[in-house]
Amino acid sequence: MDFPDRISERFYAELRESRLSTTKCNACGSLRFPPRAWCPDCLGEDLGWVALSGNGTLAAFSTQETAIRFRAPDVIGLVDLDEGVRVLSHIVGDYEDLSIGQRVTVDFFEAEPGLTLHRFRSA
């Protein structure tokens, strides 16, 4: 995968080390996902990388037909992390066995050589 900037390149390097992370502004403390090159709240450039807990709740989920890097009946979902940010991810399990609001926790897998992605499973 080609990364459009150094921030996303770093994000995927962190995933390879089994860390789901984002940036936090060292000046105003704002934490956002996706990670940023500078802080949109205070315009500060001094941002640090922080690892997220990887714990959250499943906000919504669905499946789709087989596509690029996606094999039906895999589940995709939106996960609200305990830190107050949301991620789109793969969800481990069958659609019928999952429910909105259930607790989930992060896990990592190599989607293709050199590309590690996050996914979530029931906590």
Binding site: P34, A59, A60, S62, T63, I68, L78, R86
Partner: protein
């Protein structure tokens, strides 16, 4: 704002337009709109258009090429890119240019010809899919979500969960829109369907069934906008536009999942500028590419309370004899959905209704009309309000 719609033109919405190019379709609808307005190319001094499809090669200088074909000098010409809202943003800018006196006669058009429509060939067309997917950030794109449906499906799931709306109630809107389309010669899908048909069609992305998804289609439409000096007795007055955007793409990483807040803000803005409210609207065209999104938008536009839209449809409040008629054209689900042209097809329908020229599908006494377009899930919306009345 003093801007009027003097003419509209369209070709029928279809699965695929064969070998006809976007430029040819554009010329056909522009001619029809100018004839409808009683104006000629030499009267036009502003050109406003969009890209020519989502899965299509991106072309440059579309407006300039049209100026050359029409042989006209202009004071404004542009191509607007704002996803499914593109041609409605173009119409808003054209109306602003006419209202401010920059332009006397603005021509707005969109032709949408989706290349893989006839048959998808992975070898020939995959680059178009990959190009289209570049709208996704690197934090979403690797997860392999290709179309909009899985993402809208998550919003639909959250909505149905939050409000306890059962699938059979949601399915009613697909049935009603097909009934509306059956009276519209421009609509793509016109054969009646039942709730059972909807619920037994295959699930594309749960909870969305095949008959709850708008069909991809090709099409083209054009609209002529003028000031009061050129507005004839059939002209329809533009009362106001609202526009609002959220900082999210199809998968919202901030804000609610079960709602379209930008559509609500755009509607509020449009109502305020037009000096009217949702209960004044007689006829509306709503940009719902999926059944649940259609219902969510009725709520954002103020036609039903939170979680009440499916019930409003089932009890006849959104069709002939109800509070207002929503999507008399058949809506995206049955009219067909060529996204770049869709907002101008909506304009065509509302103008036709307000002129009292809709024939079999005429909404009695239609005086005030509204239509909206969506950029894509949760992220942006434009709402327009039009009023019957000669120039």
């Amino acid at each position: 704002m003093s801007a009027w719609i003097a003419g509209v033109g369209a070709v029928p919405c279809r699965r695929w337009y064969g070998e006809r190019t976007a430029h040819e379709l554009s010329l056909a609808v522009i001619r029809a709109a100018l004839l409808d307005a009683g104006l000629a190319p030499r009267d036009v001094d502003g050109l406003y258009t969009t890209q020519i499809g989502w899965f299509a090669p991106q072309e440059k200088f579309l407006a300039q090429r049209m100026a050359e074909t029409l042989g006209i000098q202009t004071r404004a010409q542009m191509e607007i890119e704002c996803g499914g809202a593109s041609s409605l943003v173009a119409l808003r800018i054209a109306a602003d240019d006419v209202g401010s006196g920059r332009v006397r006669c603005a021509l707005v058009w969109a032709a949408d010809v989706e290349v893989p429509q006839k048959s998808f060939d992975p070898e020939k067309h995959m680059h178009l899919v990959e190009q289209a997917l570049k709208y996704q950030t690197p934090y979403v794109q690797p997860y392999g979500v290709v179309g909009a449906v899985a993402l809208y499906a998550m919003s639909a799931q959250a909505y149905m969960h939050e409000h306890g709306v059962p699938p059979a109630e949601v399915a009613e809107v697909s049935v009603l829109l097909r009934r509306h389309a059956s009276a519209n010669p421009l609509a793509y899908l016109r054969d009646p369907i039942t709730v059972e048909d909807v619920l037994s069609s295959r699930i594309v992305s749960p909870p969305m069934h095949f008959l709850e998804c708008a069909p991809w289609a090709d099409g083209a439409a054009a609209v002529v906008v003028v000031g009061s000096e050129l507005a004839g007795p059939r002209a329809v007055r533009i009362r106001g536009f609202g526009e609002a955007h959220d900082p999210t793409t199809f998968a919202p990483l901030v804000g609610p999942i079960s709602r379209y807040p930008s559509a609500g803000r755009a509607a509020e803005d449009a109502y305020k500028r037009a000096g009217v409210g949702p209960s004044d609207v007689d006829v509306a065209e709503v940009y719902g590419p999926f059944s649940v999104e259609e219902l969510q938008l009725y709520e954002e536009l103020g036609f039903a309370g939170p979680g009440q839209a499916a019930r409003a449809v089932a009890t006849g409040r959104t069709t002939y004899g109800g509070d207002l008629v929503v999507n008399p054209s058949g809506g995206r689900l049955s009219f067909g959905h060529p996204p770049y042209a869709t907002p101008l097809y909506e304009t065509f329908e509302i103008v036709t209704q307000l002129r009292g020229e809709a024939g079999e599908r005429q909404v009695d006494g239609a005086r005030l009309g509204l239509f909206n377009a969506e950029h894509g899930m949760v992220n942006g919306s434009v709402v327009a309000v039009l009023e019957r009345g000669g120039g």
